[in-house]
């Protein structure tokens, strides 16, 4: 176990950072929002699949060439669809996905409130002697 502790978190990084801290931060943010399609539960920042390396290289190049974040996201989505984004975009087909958890909490609260209300109106049972 011990040798593992020494491994850097960014084991798959394969490049020198941007000299410009703003560009570096944008690049880092972008690769953390992009799904690796080969190993779907990893971002391309975490994955060392060859395709992930190619996509990092593309994104790095485009950031260096002055593309905006929206341009780059658009580049990825036209090729791989919304699935390549770790956070699905808000649109009619994903409204339920985004609002689902809040809806469930709301339903739970309503049921809870109703149970409390109904119980509060019942006379207390007498303690058995």
């Amino acid at each position: 176990m011990l040798p593992l502790l020494g491994l850097p978190v960014m084991a798959v990084e394969d490049r020198t950072p941007f000299a410009d801290a703003v560009l570096e931060q944008r690049y880092q943010a972008l690769i953390r929002e992009t799904r690796c399609l080969v190993c779907q539960n990893q971002t391309i920042a975490d994955s060392n699949a060859p395709l992930a390396a190619d996509l990092r290289r593309q994104i790095r190049q485009q950031v260096a060439d002055g593309a905006s974040d929206a341009d780059i996201v658009n580049y990825l989505v036209t090729r791989y669809g919304d699935f390549v984004l770790y956070r699905p975009p808000m649109k009619p087909t994903t409204w339920l996905l985004w609002s689902g958890p809040a809806l469930l909490v709301l339903i739970g609260l309503l049921v809870f409130a109703r149970v409390i209300y109904v119980r509060s109106r019942q006379p207390l049972d007498e303690e058995p002697a």
């Binding site: 399609l37 779907q40 060859p50 395709l51 190619d54 593309q58 036209t78 669809g81």
Partner: protein, 175 residues
């Protein structure tokens, strides 16, 4: 009445979603190119690095574009079927040789047969990204005007060919 019906309805809905989820393949990501023009590309040819294979070379008739590589096990599985198709399907098959070693790829075609009219040699993988490729083998069916009609992911078999490709080809040919 309602206090029993609502939970039961919720339960049935959940079970329906879970049951459906069991039969979905999470590895299958639908291609956003279906119904859209195939992306432009220009690659050196595998067999003749001085010549180039471009989008304009493959549009004009129904065509298949098959993404392959010698490191890809699924490509090995489907290769014999591709060789059969090349002589029987009546449409050209083009190859996109993805991040491969040129000499190994040439040897592979020599040993196993070459079903491709031509293969583009994509050493960097950039063309594959432009085509939304994420796992070889992938096979695109292109209409004569260059529209992507269908993309299949996983090795081709006769059964998949009859089920997914033939009806689409027949529709274009007006049969």
């Amino acid at each position: 009445m309602w206090r029993y019906l609502i939970p039961v309805a919720l339960f049935v809905t959940l079970v329906w979603f879970f049951a459906r989820g069991l039969y979905l393949d999470p590895g299958y990501v639908p291609s956003p190119f279906v119904g859209k023009p195939a992306p432009a590309f220009s690659l050196p040819k595998l067999k003749d690095p001085a010549a180039r294979l471009e989008r304009s070379d493959i549009v004009g008739e129904l065509a298949l574009v098959n993404v392959w590589a010698t490191w890809c096990i699924g490509c090995q599985q489907e290769h014999a079927f591709l060789v059969q198709l090349a002589s029987s399907a009546g449409l050209p098959i083009y190859g996109l040789n993805w991040k491969d070693d040129r000499s190994q790829a040439l040897r592979w075609l020599e040993q196993l047969g070459d079903p491709y009219v031509a293969s583009g040699f994509d050493a960097s993988g950039d063309t594959a990204i432009d085509w939304g490729v994420y796992g070889a083998p992938e096979t695109f069916l292109l209409a004569p005007d260059g529209t992507v009609l269908y993309k299949h992911l996983s090795p081709l078999t006769r059964e998949i060919w009859s089920r997914e490709f033939l009806p689409r080809i027949a529709a274009v040919r007006g049969e």
